[in-house]
Point group: D2
Chain length 159, copies 4
Amino acid sequence: MAKILIAYYSRSGNTKKLAEAVRQGAAAVAGAEVICKAVGDVQAKDLLDYDGIMIGSPVYYGSMAWEVKKLFDESVAFHGKLSGKVGGAFSTSANLAGGNETTILDILNAMLIHGMVIRGCATGDHYGAVGINDPDKRATDQGAMFGKLVAELAVKLHG
Amino acid sequence: MAKILIAYYSRSGNTKKLAEAVRQGAAAVAGAEVICKAVGDVQAKDLLDYDGIMIGSPVYYGSMAWEVKKLFDESVAFHGKLSGKVGGAFSTSANLAGGNETTILDILNAMLIHGMVIRGCATGDHYGAVGINDPDKRATDQGAMFGKLVAELAVKLHG
Amino acid sequence: MAKILIAYYSRSGNTKKLAEAVRQGAAAVAGAEVICKAVGDVQAKDLLDYDGIMIGSPVYYGSMAWEVKKLFDESVAFHGKLSGKVGGAFSTSANLAGGNETTILDILNAMLIHGMVIRGCATGDHYGAVGINDPDKRATDQGAMFGKLVAELAVKLHG
Amino acid sequence: MAKILIAYYSRSGNTKKLAEAVRQGAAAVAGAEVICKAVGDVQAKDLLDYDGIMIGSPVYYGSMAWEVKKLFDESVAFHGKLSGKVGGAFSTSANLAGGNETTILDILNAMLIHGMVIRGCATGDHYGAVGINDPDKRATDQGAMFGKLVAELAVKLHG
């Protein structure tokens, strides 16, 4: 089994809803064991336990919420130990062109610096799933697709 | 008068339509003289003639079309001479989260490397105006707002 | 007078040293009144008091330290009120290609979302001043140049 | 065998030199068959023949040279068919903080939009190998390490 963590930060519930869609997409992959948690319930050392890690954040000033960034900053204690794990990102924002892509890429950059493996999607949302406000069906479908793609890659590399 | 150039690349007409909205927003600013051209009709040396330069591109693989990039690459012949001019960017794409922001930031990065002055917008599209497919009223309103903001800054600094 | 705030986060002293170089460059500009503070001594509401704001951060996983991000996240209480102010960014990292540019652009993106005005530099470090470890003369010279450029723009627009 | 293409654009010879280091690192991986070509000798349809694709460009205004972007733009004819292939990027520039990271990320973004799989490196250059001017030993070592990492991933996924 490949163990997958989906961690999100959500005040309004929008990112939590998108995380749930990502979880459903990942959980449907054979060989994937998926856990979905609020980022406040995840400690940096917990990241070591997973083969795949997907992080979701609302868009605050074009990048991840500081509560999410804090988890990455604290993960420096384990730098090098996440290398080769599979990653993914998703975000929700109030506006169409309000920083969704930069927030997702902010998370993906942090994962690349950890030496993690990430992937894009040739259709729909390319860098990671994006929701505008309360995620609609388009957004949750994208979330499920990304959850599936990332879980499949984690199973292939670590299952 | 501050001279403003709006240059766009457009095959489908979508980016051209957004360029027209940007032009209208800029032209409404007192003290701004605005010209709107296809990027194929602009040579690198022409950029020297303007106080403000706004560039629009469709989203091709997350960044500006090569025809637009060619203009920037050729502008190296005048490197340093665009310093202090005012810039802005806009883009259109087929998808919501398909690379609009990264395309705009790709253009803005090139402008920063020229030493140009850029600005964001606190409401709506933050980095530059974005259209999805045929730009709707939301998109053309954003285009007009950005055209106005960038022209006002060009007038203030160079008018 | 244009009031300029330089705010930095620094554990090792490297970003503080670069902040000091930025401060000297800004303070040499006629019409600029410059204050340099640790980010922990700045509250979001304080940002309203300045015409120009330069923020420095070490590179942690490719973006600003969470302590700096927290200031931006809290500044949402004043969203729209920073529009038109002048911004700039600088960073220090342990490695040459370890995330310096993405950290600076992370800060600049946040400033664009506030509607702020930023600028690049045609020579040397293009997006903002970068130091590797203990900033050497090259880095402090770049810091002073950026401090000067941003302060001059703040004086021109708000002085 | 996993087939790996390394394609570069180089006028001065600097990016070609870094490409050669990448090639050596990749060629040392058991199960990898590596070809290194100038981008002008690669057509978009050729990309279909490889399991791993690494692209190198000089830094021109913060992103890939237009000659490299043209290859990506033309690859739209095969959109969807590169999904799951492994990618990587490298760049050389004249300056330390002159756009190396944004150029590499520009290439990686294009690969993500194709649905490709990429990875970072926990040590040294995080997003891809970077050279300043004529690549020194540090840069060629980074190139070789990235060549090895990307080739290993291509072998694991497609060998």
